[in-house]
Amino acid sequence: MVPLSWYLALSAVLFTMGAVGILIKRNVIAVLLCLEMMLNAANLALVAFSSFFQQTDGQLLVFLVMVVAAAEAGVGLAIVISVFRNRETLDVDESHLMKL
């Protein structure tokens, strides 16, 4: 069988790639994509623990995380559209005022 630590290592790799992407990416949509990647890394760790400890709770939590991710993507992309309409740019450094 695949040991639990392999899944945790893969989750760590995925989470780190998402974190590095948020640091180095300048396009706001790319930043949101890296955020989704970090959420999925956490989901992978949750499912791994859930299935190795034979408890359903972790998978229910993953289900809730997916719902929250869908809501976050919807609202986040609406904000991106609104910002782009006013500023004609997607660079995160250009949007430094809390104003749409």
Partner: protein, 170 residues
């Protein structure tokens, strides 16, 4: 090396390749496609662990609905490559990559040092915990309140997204 371990390694490589693709692509559209590849690999991981329901949901909701939303917005806004000022933020690369390597070193240190009880590490990931039945019973009994709260959250997200993306009347 068992067949499960070979499958794990193949899909882990696919997931990692997708993640690296997100980071190195200049065009956000190609980043989104790389992330879809990564999500499909994750769905295979969930099924490998016996979480069938989440494997299906990962493909339908994540690789399907959410990523289609991203791709739709990218095409709607017609964004060009994100490196309009190539040299201005070069230093971020020199800060971000060492920070990422530090983070991954820390996590690997923790993962290798933490002792999980041997009885649990030997436990096989059998597929009775992730069935639709178990998930459904859990959602409608113990987790009923969070489940209902998510429906309110989705409703708020829909109203908020409509309000934010609406074109203001002059």
């Amino acid at each position: 090396m068992t067949i499960q371990q070979i499958v794990f390694i193949v899909f882990a490589l696919i997931i990692t390749a997708g993640g690296v693709g997100v980071l190195v692509q200049r065009n956000p559209l190609y980043s989104a496609f790389s992330l879809i590849l990564s999500f499909i690999g994750l769905a295979a991981m969930y099924i490998l662990m016996g979480a069938q329901f989440l494997g299906v949901i990962q493909i339908v909701v994540y690789a399907g609905a959410i990523m289609v939303l991203f791709v739709f917005v990218i095409m709607l806004l017609n964004v060009r490559d994100d490196e309009l000022h190539p040299d201005r933020h070069k230093y971020l690369l020199y800060i971000g990559v060492p920070l990422g390597l530090g983070l991954i070193a820390e996590v690997f240190y923790v993962v290798t040092r933490v002792q999980i009880a041997p009885a649990i590490t030997d436990m096989h990931a059998t597929g009775t915990v992730g069935t639709v039945e178990r998930i459904g019973v859990g959602l409608l009994t113990e987790y009923l309140l969070p489940f209902e709260a998510t429906s309110v959250l989705i409703l708020m997200a829909v109203i908020g997204a409509m309000h934010l993306a609406k074109r203001e009347k002059e």
